[in-house]
C-alpha cells in the first residue's frame, strides 16, 4: 500500500477497509498463482464435508440411543410409580378422607418421591367425562414446574385413553427465574381417587439433563477431533504438494533465467521419477534452444562483422580513388570535353559511393550495438535552422521552398550530431519527394519545432505524392523506395530514414510518418527532454493541421512507423 501523504491521511475506517481489500487481493492472487493453495484449500474443504457428515451421523445415533433408553427407563419408572400410587389409594379405602385431603396426600407423596428419584410431577384433575375435557380444573405440581411443560397432545391422549402415554417435551420452570428449561420425557397415566371417584391425570416429567451433558461432551470432542484432523490433513497435503510443486517452481525459475538470457542455466536432475524426467526433457529443450540461439547469434555476428569489415576494407582503396579523382577533377579544364565530363561524373559518383559507404558503416554500427549517445543540452530550433540553411542550395536547385516555424526555444538533452543527421535526412527526403515547383506556386517544405514539458518534437511536412496506405510502415526499411523508377535526386543512399529511425530510437524517441496519396507526407521526430525518460505524448500532431479530419486521425493506431516501447 502506498504510504499516506500528509494532506490525505486516511481515516481509520478507510485504512481498515483498504487493509481488508489488499488482504483480499493478496488472497486472490495467491489463489490464482499458487497451485498449492488451491490444492490445500480444496482438500481441506472436501475433508471438512466428509468429516462433518460422518460426525453428524455418529451424533444422531448416539443421541437417539441415549434418548430412547431414557424414555424407556422413564416409562418403566412412571408405570411402577403409578402402580404404587394405585395400591396406596386402593388400601386407603373410600371413606377415610375427604377428597381434598386425599388428593393433597397423593400429590405430596408423589412430589416427595419425585424429589428423591429425580422427576417432577404434574397432577391434573378431576378429569371430566370423556369428550368434555374443557371443564377440567385443579392443577397441582412440584414446586416451580410450569404445568404447560406437559404437551397438550399428551394431555389429550391421557384424557381419552386408558394406560400410559408418553412424549418428549421441554420442561420449563417459571421460578426461580435462573433455572433453565431442559429437555425431558413426559409420561402420563390416570388414577381414580377413591374418595370422590374422580379421575386424575398424573404426569411424570423426567428431565434429560444427564443425557444433554453427555451429548454436549460428545459434540465437543467430535468437533475438536474434527478440527485437529483437518489441520493434520492440511499439513499432510502441504508436505505432499511441496514434493510435486517445488520441482515445478524450480523449473519455472530456471525457465525465467533462461528467458532472461542466461542460456547456460539447467535444472538439477535427481532420481528417475516423473519430475526427474521433466527435468531431463526441460534440459534437452534448453540445450536445443541454446544451440539454436548461439548459431543465430554467431551467424548474425559474422554477418555484421562482414559488413563492417567490407566497409572498412573498402575505405583505403576508396581513399586512393578519391584522391586520384580529385586530381583529375581539378585538372579537367585541360582535358578534352569527353575526358573532362568523365572526370566530373567520376567525382560525383564517388561522392555518392562515399555517402553510401558511410551510411552502411553507420548501420553496421547500430546493428552491432556499438552506437552510443553523446548528450548535450541542445536547442532543436537552432538545429532545424542550421539543417534548413545547409539544405537551401539543394532546395533552390530543385525549386523547393523551405520554411521553419517554431515558437519558444526547444531545449532537450540529445546527441546533436545524430539529431542533426535525422533532420538532414528528413529534410532532404522531403525535398526529394516534392514535385519541382513549376512557378513558385508549389507548397513549401515546412519544418516545425515544438515542445512540451516532457518532450521536444520536430515535424517535416512535404506536399509531394504522399504515401499509399501500407507504405508508411515500409519507409523506414533499408533501401526501400516508394517508386523504384524514381531517381534519388539529392543523392540519398536509401539508408537515410533507416538510420534516422535508429538515431531516434537510440534517444528513446519516436520517428513516425503520416502520409496520404496526393496529400503529401509528414514525418515527426519526438525525443524526450531528458534522455531515457519515457515518452507518452508528442508536442506536435502527427497528422498535419491542414489535412481535413487531421486532428481526429492523430491516434496512435494510425501513427505508422515504429516506436520504441
Amino acid at each position: 500500500m502506498a504510504a499516506p501523504t500528509p494532506d490525505s491521511r486516511p481515516s481509520a475506517r478507510e485504512r481498515g477497509s483498504r487493509l481488508l481489500t489488499s488482504g483480499l487481493a493478496a488472497g486472490l492472487t495467491s489463489w490464482r498463482r499458487s497451485i498449492r493453495t488451491r490444492v490445500v484449500v480444496a482438500i481441506v474443504l472436501l475433508s471438512a464435508v466428509v468429516a462433518g457428515s460422518v460426525g453428524w451421523l455418529v451424533m444422531r445415533q448416539i443421541t437417539d440411543g441415549l434418548v430412547n433408553s431414557r424414555a424407556q427407563a422413564s416409562i418403566t419408572e412412571a408405570i411402577s410409580e403409578t402402580n404404587t400410587i394405585r395400591k396406596q389409594l386402593g388400601s386407603a379405602g373410600s371413606n377415610d378422607f375427604d377428597p381434598e385431603t386425599q388428593l393433597r396426600q397423593l400429590v405430596e407423596t408423589l412430589v416427595s418421591r419425585g424429589e428423591v428419584r429425580g422427576f417432577d410431577v404434574v397432577v391434573v384433575g378431576p378429569l371430566a367425562a370423556v369428550g368434555a375435557t374443557a371443564t377440567e380444573e385443579g392443577v397441582r405440581t412440584t414446586l416451580g414446574v410450569d404445568p404447560a411443560s406437559v404437551p397438550a397432545e399428551l394431555k389429550r391422549a391421557v384424557a381419552t385413553e386408558e394406560g400410559t402415554s408418553w412424549a418428549f417435551t421441554r420442561i420449563t420452570y417459571p421460578e426461580p427465574a435462573d433455572r433453565r428449561s431442559e429437555p425431558g420425557v413426559a409420561v402420563g397415566s390416570r388414577v381414580v381417587l377413591p374418595s370422590d371417584g374422580g379421575t386424575y391425570a398424573i404426569f411424570y416429567l423426567f428431565p434429560m439433563d444427564e443425557e444433554q451433558r453427555t451429548v454436549n461432551l460428545v459434540v465437543r470432542s467430535l468437533l475438536t477431533s474434527g478440527a485437529l484432523l483437518l489441520l493434520l490433513i492440511a499439513g499432510v497435503v502441504v508436505l505432499v504438494t511441496r514434493q510435486v510443486i517445488d520441482p515445478i517452481r524450480l523449473a519455472r525459475r530456471v525457465a525465467e533465467r533462461i528467458a532472461s538470457g542466461r542460456l547456460e542455466e539447467r535444472m538439477h536432475v535427481r532420481g528417475e521419477d516423473d519430475i526427474a524426467r521433466l527435468a531431463v526433457s526441460f534440459n534437452q529443450m534448453a540445450d536445443a534452444l541454446q544451440q539454436q540461439i548461439r548459431q543465430l547469434v554467431e551467424l548474425s555476428r559474422v554477418q555484421r562483422q562482414f559488413v563492417s569489415d567490407v566497409s572498412h576494407e573498402l575505405r583505403t582503396p576508396l581513399t586512393t580513388v578519391r584522391m586520384a579523382s580529385d586530381v583529375l577533377h581539378d585538372a579537367r579544364d585541360s582535358f578534352d570535353p569527353v575526358t573532362a565530363r568523365s572526370a566530373e561524373l567520376l567525382q560525383n559518383e564517388l561522392d555518392r559511393f562515399e555517402n553510401l559507404l558511410s551510411d552502411l558503416l553507420e548501420i553496421s554500427r547500430f546493428d552491432a550495438g556499438a552506437a552510443a549517445l553523446e548528450l548535450h543540452e541542445v536547442n532543436l530550433v537552432d538545429v532545424a535552422h542550421r539543417v534548413v540553411r545547409d539544405a537551401q542550395p539543394l532546395a533552390a536547385q530543385r525549386g523547393v521552398r523551405l520554411v521553419v516555424t517554431s515558437g519558444t526555444p526547444c531545449i532537450a538533452q540529445v546527441d546533436e550530431r545524430r539529431i542533426e543527421r535525422v533532420l538532414r535526412n528528413l529534410v532532404s527526403n522531403a525535398i526529394d519527394h516534392t514535385e519541382p515547383g513549376v512557378d513558385s506556386g508549389a507548397e513549401p517544405v515546412v519544418v516545425r519545432v515544438g515542445a512540451n514539458a516532457e518532450a521536444v518534437a520536430v515535424t517535416v511536412r512535404d506536399h509531394g505524392v504522399g504515401l499509399e496506405p501500407g507504405q508508411s510502415a515500409m519507409v523506414f526499411n533499408r533501401f526501400w523506395r516508394a517508386d523504384p523508377a524514381r531517381a534519388r535526386a539529392s543523392g540519398g543512399t536509401g539508408l537515410g530514414l533507416a538510420i534516422a529511425l535508429e538515431d531516434a530510437q537510440l534517444h528513446g524517441g519516436w520517428l513516425q510518418v503520416w502520409g496520404a496519396p496526393g496529400a503529401g507526407a509528414q514525418f515527426r521526430l519526438t525525443v524526450p527532454r531528458r534522455a531515457g525518460d519515457p515518452l507518452t505524448h508528442s508536442p506536435l500532431p502527427l497528422v498535419p493541421d491542414d489535412v481535413p479530419g487531421g486532428r481526429l486521425a492523430d491516434a496512435p493506431a494510425l501513427a505508422h512507423g515504429r516506436e520504441l516501447p
Binding site: H312, T320, M323, L361
Partner: protein, 248 residues
C-alpha cells in the same frame, strides 16, 4: 587558416602499407608543395624518421612489422614531431588509443585531399616565428618565442618538455586565463578545425598536457575543467607579465 607558406618545403614522412595510397599521397602532397618520403613498414619508420627528420608524420594505424600505435609511442619518446593518424575506423577505441599514444590529430578514411592538406598545414604552421612573449600560469612560465615551459621551485628551474601541440594548447588557455574555452573553441584555435570535430581530441590532449604540467593530474591546478562548458587556465602566481600582444 591564414595562408602561411612553410619556410622552405616542409617534409612529410608517410608511413602506410598500401602502396597505391602511399603513392597517391606522395603525388598530392608534392602538388601542394611538400617533400615526402614513403615507408611501408612500421619497423622501418623509426630509422626513416631519424634519417629524414620530417616536419610531420602521416601514420597509418594498421602496419606490418610494428603497428601504428607502437610507432606513435616510439616517435613520441624521441620527438615532439606532429603526428597525424590515418584511420579506417573513426568510431572505435583505436582513435582514442592512437591519440593517447601521442598522435596530435587523426583523419578518417576516406578523406578528401584538401581536407588532408588542411590538417597537415594546420600542424606545420606552428613553426612560424611568434613575437617574444612570456606568460605565467600557476607556477609555470611560458616563453612563447623560445617554445619552452619552465617551472621554478625555489632556485631550481625545471624545463618541461611539451610537444608543439601541447604547447599550443597551454598557450591558448594561458593567454586568456579569464576565459573558459569550450572544446569546440579549442578545436578551432589549436587544431584549426572550422567545423565541428571530434571533441575526444581535446579531452585526450588535455589529459596528456596535465600529465606533464600538473603536480597532481587528478587534482589539476593549471588546466582546470569547467563542468559542462570546457576548460580554462588556472590562477597566475607570478603577478608580473611581459605584455606582448599576441597577434593571430
Amino acid at each position: 587558416m591564414s595562408q602561411v607558406e612553410p619556410v622552405g618545403r616542409a617534409r612529410v614522412l608517410v608511413v602506410d602499407d598500401d602502396a597505391a595510397l602511399s603513392e597517391m599521397l606522395a603525388l598530392v602532397l608534392h602538388n601542394e608543395g611538400f617533400h615526402t618520403r614513403v615507408v611501408a613498414r612500421g619497423d622501418e619508420a623509426m630509422a626513416a624518421f631519424r634519417d629524414y627528420r620530417p616536419d610531420l608524420v602521416l601514420l597509418d594505424l594498421m602496419l606490418p612489422g610494428i603497428d601504428g600505435i607502437d610507432v606513435c609511442r616510439r616517435l613520441r619518446a624521441e620527438s615532439g614531431v606532429p603526428i597525424v593518424m590515418l584511420t579506417a575506423k573513426s568510431d572505435t577505441v583505436d582513435v582514442v588509443v592512437g591519440l593517447e599514444s601521442g598522435a596530435d590529430d587523426y583523419i578518417a578514411k576516406p578523406f578528401k585531399p584538401k581536407e588532408l592538406v588542411a590538417r597537415i598545414r594546420a600542424r606545420i604552421r606552428r613553426v612560424d616565428n611568434p613575437a617574444p612573449e612570456a606568460i605565467h600560469v600557476g607556477d609555470l612560465e611560458i616563453d612563447v618565442a623560445g617554445h619552452t615551459v619552465t617551472r621554478r621551485t625555489g632556485d631550481e628551474v625545471e624545463t618541461l618538455s611539451l610537444t608543439p601541440l601541447e604547447f599550443e594548447l597551454l598557450v591558448c588557455l594561458a593567454r586568456k586565463p579569464w576565459q573558459v574555452f569550450t572544446r569546440e573553441m579549442l578545436l578551432e584555435q589549436v587544431w584549426g578545425y572550422r567545423h565541428a570535430a571530434d571533441t575526444r581530441l581535446v579531452n585526450v590532449h588535455v589529459q596528456r598536457l596535465r600529465a606533464k604540467v600538473e603536480h597532481d593530474p587528478e587534482n589539476p591546478q593549471i588546466v582546470l575543467t569547467v563542468r559542462g562548458v570546457g576548460y580554462k587556465a588556472g590562477a597566475t602566481q607570478a603577478a608580473e607579465r611581459a605584455d606582448g600582444r599576441p597577434d593571430a
